[in-house]
């Protein structure tokens, strides 16, 4: 019987300590001390114990009863103390100031990351430039027809100007760095424009230049395709075609299928099915020769694109001016 008592006690102890609430405890209490409870039953059966053990078993059974009763009471009390305060998790939180990067910075950073994977470094250059570095050294002599596409903002006519493209950094880099190098640049450029929703006299360009023995149109194509797929998505169609830029020869252009009509032709793409994304090509031999390079020994490529339209598409902004006039509302 001693064993029976011990086993009942241990089982009860385990049940009491793991009980979750008063109802459960009450059930345990009834199971132990109720009319047909285990302990009640044992107490009834004490008369069956042989006389010489009766006293010892009696003490044990009483102790067990006391222990279990007090444990149940204790446990009940602890439930009382633990009653949690009601709280409302749906109440609004108090926000700290949340800072955000400008959409243009977001896009530039993403592009930089992609080009870093391909071994490009990041460069920067002056916005106040000379005609020589903005045009002359880029195979764009005075009165070149391509200059009429870039009406320039002058500080001192005709020599000091605000750069009309980031290609000015290309000339600076060709002068300063020793090949091999791969660099990308993002920055402000300026042109004389009739300001409207899609043209601003200040805009952003993204430019890349690589100079290294053995570079070819296939490397250029590979670089641009990798970028376009990473940045615009692997599902976009890409068109790599011949185009004209005086700074490069052979020259190329990269178009992406129009995301609005999937290449069928719509008002956004003027029915072309394609959107012009960037201009590129192998650096013109006149430029390389101008910096003292032998074009039989080294070659390079360059590419450039306007950033604002990409930013506007990404952030669903319709007017280029809102990017830079404080109209942007964050969150």
């Amino acid at each position: 019987m001693q064993e029976e008592i011990m086993s009942a006690k241990n089982q009860a102890l385990a049940q009491i300590t793991s009980a979750h609430d008063n109802t459960e405890l009450e059930q345990i209490r009834i199971d132990l001390f109720g009319r047909n409870g285990k302990i009640t039953d044992l107490l009834k059966r004490i008369k069956e114990v042989p006389g010489d053990q009766k006293q010892q078993i009696g003490i044990l059974l009483n102790d067990t009863k006391k222990t279990l009763e007090s444990l149940i009471a204790e446990q009940k009390n602890s439930f009382k103390e633990n009653v949690r305060e009601w709280f409302d998790p749906t109440i609004p939180g108090i926000l700290p100031n949340i800072g955000n990067l400008h959409p243009t910075s977001v896009v530039i950073n993403e592009m930089f990351e992609i080009f870093k994977h391909m071994g490009f470094s990041i460069m920067e250059g002056s916005e106040m430039e000379t005609d020589i570095y903005n045009f002359e050294k880029l195979n764009l002599p005075k009165d070149h027809p391509a200059r009429s596409l870039q009406d320039v903002l002058y500080i001192e006519e005709p020599d000091v100007l605000l750069r009309s493209h980031t290609s000015s950094v290309e000339t600076r880099v060709l002068e300063k760095l020793k090949p091999p190098f791969r660099i990308v640049v993002a920055g402000k450029c300026y042109r004389y424009e009739n300001v409207n929703a899609s043209n601003n006299s200040m805009f952003y360009q993204f430019q890349g230049v690589a100079l290294q023995k053995g570079l070819s149109m296939a490397d250029l194509k590979g670089t641009l395709f990798y970028f376009a797929k990473e940045f615009f998505g692997h599902d976009r169609k890409i068109r790599f075609r011949c185009k004209y830029y005086p700074e490069v020869e052979p020259s190329a252009g990269l178009d992406l299928d129009c995301p609005f009509c999937k290449g069928k032709g719509c008002t956004v793409c003027k029915g072309r099915g394609w959107l012009e994304m960037l201009g590129a090509g192998m650096i013109h031999p006149n430029i390389l020769k101008g910096f003292g390079y032998n074009t039989n020994e080294i070659s390079g490529f360059a590419f450039g694109m306007g950033l604002d339209r990409i930013v506007m598409d990404r952030f669903k902004i319709k007017d280029i001016r809102s990017l830079y006039n404080g109209d942007i509302k964050y969150q």
Binding site: L101, I122, S148, I155, Q212, R239, H284
Partner: protein, 651 residues
């Protein structure tokens, strides 16, 4: 340029699929801009390459299609041979400048001026030119067909002595559109005894052009110095059909092609008696030029190996005559209309273009990776931006220019005597003056937020400022911080944000001092590190701002570092002080913290009227401090504060 396909079909067989045609043309450099159907006929509008003067013609595009589809060009009927002379009796021409490369003239007598027949007006309308009369229309027709602009004078109005010369300054011409142009000495003109008859290569004059009563005409076509014409065209806004062709490098031999065709059509239609003799001024005859192309370079630049048979075939299709073809290099003669093909690389582009850019492989940049040359400040600029974002500021990018109404704030925040930079050709007064500080634009942005009923504004900009110093143009990179709060922003909160920015860069030893700046700004202060000023700030209305020189702080930025929690407990005590007016609390704290190594930190925890509560934290990293050790230092501090600042302990 608009190409009516019906017209094009006369000279070359075009594929049945129009979209295949326009796709291929786009791929070789003539992008389809628009396609339209007018009166049942398709017109494709191509965005032409600026260096392809030869393509500004139906025949030019026909040649491109011929090369693309390997189909011959059917040249239009022309006069087989012209009777070329150097002088014609009806009119004498003197060319007074080397800017003229070639001139041809012919006299047509007893012309019948009348409206053009339908075939001609239909063609011109499809292209987009209004018909005038048969002669003018025919000159336009030949121009669109061949690419060479032509012009007809009324022979009886121009007199016997013509000259091509540079205009005198302020000479005037009234164009046939009745627009008066005042010319400069850089404008090339056709002139006679009684003034200027036309602006060369651009536009005809009103009084000497042909009209309904014209009986005899002088027709001319010419080749000029491209750059000169371009300047004139842009100076006087003369982007006429002639102007856009002459500003590009036209082939002087095209003049003869156009003449043959024009005379043929006059005769064929019976519109006048063409004089036998055709005047030709052509001092320097242009012949096909030779270019040597290295076979290796084709492969190196193209990134693809093209079979020599294919190279030959492509060159032939483009009318390039291959004069020699060896393994190492080949030599070609370039047709004179291809004025864009000058160097070896131009020929390589031609080969690749027809070979197909689609066939160039997509190669992963597999060459040795060059070393990273990103300047340190670029990475740091990015990290500065991220730190500001982390502090709850929104990044803005503002204009390089300062609006006229904000120019009073556009002063360099520095003692340096520097000049502002202005545009010499500003598009508007608001886009004229370059910013010398980020303040005016940031200020405008915050005002905008206030007007939009915002409750707070925390903005920053990382950007350049521009000024002129000792004759040099200088750009400096700045961090502009601006903050406003509807409930009122106190200086200590704003300063805390600046402190936090510097702490993120592990810079602790900042000094803020009062300085005199722009009179528009209140509470002006400077920020220095190691006695070097790195920024300025102040308050306008309720708006706090500061501008930090990024180049100056770059060298001060220290790499991130950490310490461990000390093992021995600190002793912490609060003291209330009363100070005389105008006491600099920053100086008091600095004095306290320099009193021995165990005073680890002093914080200002409360200010009530003139009472300042400081919390002193004593701690030793090696042992637990006892009261005696702390008491010694405390006494020294209280003594010093009293002596130096007159600060009294208040119990």
């Amino acid at each position: 340029m608009k190409i009516p396909l019906n017209w094009l079909k006369e000279y070359v067989k075009i594929p049945s699929s129009e979209s295949d045609l326009t796709h291929k043309l786009s791929m070789v450099g003539h992008m389809l801009d628009k396609k339209e159907v007018v009166d049942g006929q398709t017109i494709i509008d191509l965005e032409l390459r600026g260096n392809r003067a030869d393509c500004y013609s139906i025949l030019g595009i026909a040649r491109e299609i011929s090369a693309l589809y390997n189909t011959p060009v059917k040249n239009p009927k022309t006069l087989p041979k012209l009777n070329i002379v150097s002088h014609i009796s009806d009119c004498n021409l003197t060319v007074k400048t080397p800017l003229v490369k070639r001139v041809m003239m012919v006299v047509v007598k007893d012309v019948k001026i009348m409206p053009s027949p339908k075939w001609l007006t239909d063609r011109l309308k499809a292209y987009g030119v209004d018909p005038i009369n048969n002669i003018v229309d025919l000159t336009n027709y030949v121009m669109i067909e061949t690419g060479e602009p032509m012009h007809a004078f009324d022979l009886d109005k121009i007199g016997k002595n013509l000259e091509i010369r540079l205009a005198k300054n302020n000479e005037v011409i009234t164009t046939f559109q009745d627009i008066k142009l005042t010319l400069t000495s850089d404008d090339l003109v056709w002139a006679g005894e009684d003034g200027i008859y036309s602006v060369a290569g651009a536009i005809g004059g009103r009084y000497h052009s042909i009209g309904d009563g014209t009986k005899n005409i002088l027709v001319e076509a010419a080749g000029y110095d491209r750059a000169n014409i371009r300047r004139t065209v842009h100076r006087h806004n003369l982007l006429t059909d002639a102007g856009i062709r002459h500003e590009k490098e036209l082939d002087p031999n095209l003049v003869e092609t156009a003449f043959g065709r024009f005379i043929y059509l006059i005769k064929e239609n019976g519109w006048g008696k063409v004089e036998e003799s055709v005047f030709d001024y052509y001092p320097k005859v242009v012949k096909p030029w030779k270019i040597k192309v290295s076979g290796q370079k084709i492969k190196n630049l193209g990134g693809v190996e093209i079979a020599s048979t294919q190279i030959k075939k492509i060159l032939k299709a483009l009318n390039f005559q291959v004069v020699s073809f060896k393994k190492i290099f080949l030599e070609v003669l370039v047709p004179t209309y291809r004025t864009d093909v000058v160097v070896e690389e131009d020929v390589i582009e031609e080969i690749l273009r027809i070979y197909g850019y689609d066939n160039i492989p997509v190669k992963t940049l597999s060459l040795e990776i060059p070393s990273v040359v990103t300047p340190k400040f670029i990475d740091e600029e990015l990290s500065v931006k991220n730190q500001m974002v982390g502090l709850g500021f929104n990044e803005v990018i503002s204009s390089t220019f300062v609006k006229e109404k904000l120019l009073n704030l556009n002063l360099l925040l520095d003692e340096g005597i520097a000049g502002k930079v202005e545009l010499s050709n500003p598009p508007s007064p608001d886009n004229k003056t370059l910013r010398m500080t980020l303040l005016p634009n940031l200020f405008e942005f915050v005002e905008k937020i206030i007007n939009e009923r915002g409750v707070s504004a925390s903005l920053f900009e990382v950007g350049k400022i521009y000024f002129k110093d000792k004759g040099k143009y200088i750009e400096k990179r700045k961090l502009g911080i601006i903050s406003w709060n509807k409930d009122g922003l106190v200086f200590t909160k704003f300063k805390g944000l600046i402190d936090a920015f510097f702490l993120k860069n592990n810079i602790r030893e900042l000094d803020f001092s009062s300085v005199a700046l722009n009179a528009e700004v209140d509470q002006t202060f400077s920020i220095s590190i190691d006695r070097e000023i790195v920024g300025y700030g102040g308050k306008i209305n309720d708006i706090y701002f500061c501008e930090i020189d990024l180049d100056a702080i770059l060298e001060k930025v220290r790499p991130a570092s950490v310490t461990l929690w000390p093992k021995y407990p600190p002793q912490i005590e609060d003291h209330n002080f009363v100070f005389p007016k105008k006491t600099k609390i920053g100086e008091v704290i600095k004095t306290i913290t320099t009193e021995g190594p165990i005073i680890k930190r002093v914080d200002l925890v409360d200010v009530f009227k003139d009472t300042y509560t400081f919390r002193f934290i004593y701690q030793d990293s090696e042992k637990t401090l006892n009261d005696e050790e702390v008491g010694k230092v405390r006494n020294k501090i209280l003594q010093k504060v009293k002596e130096k600042f007159g600060g009294q302990i208040k119990e």
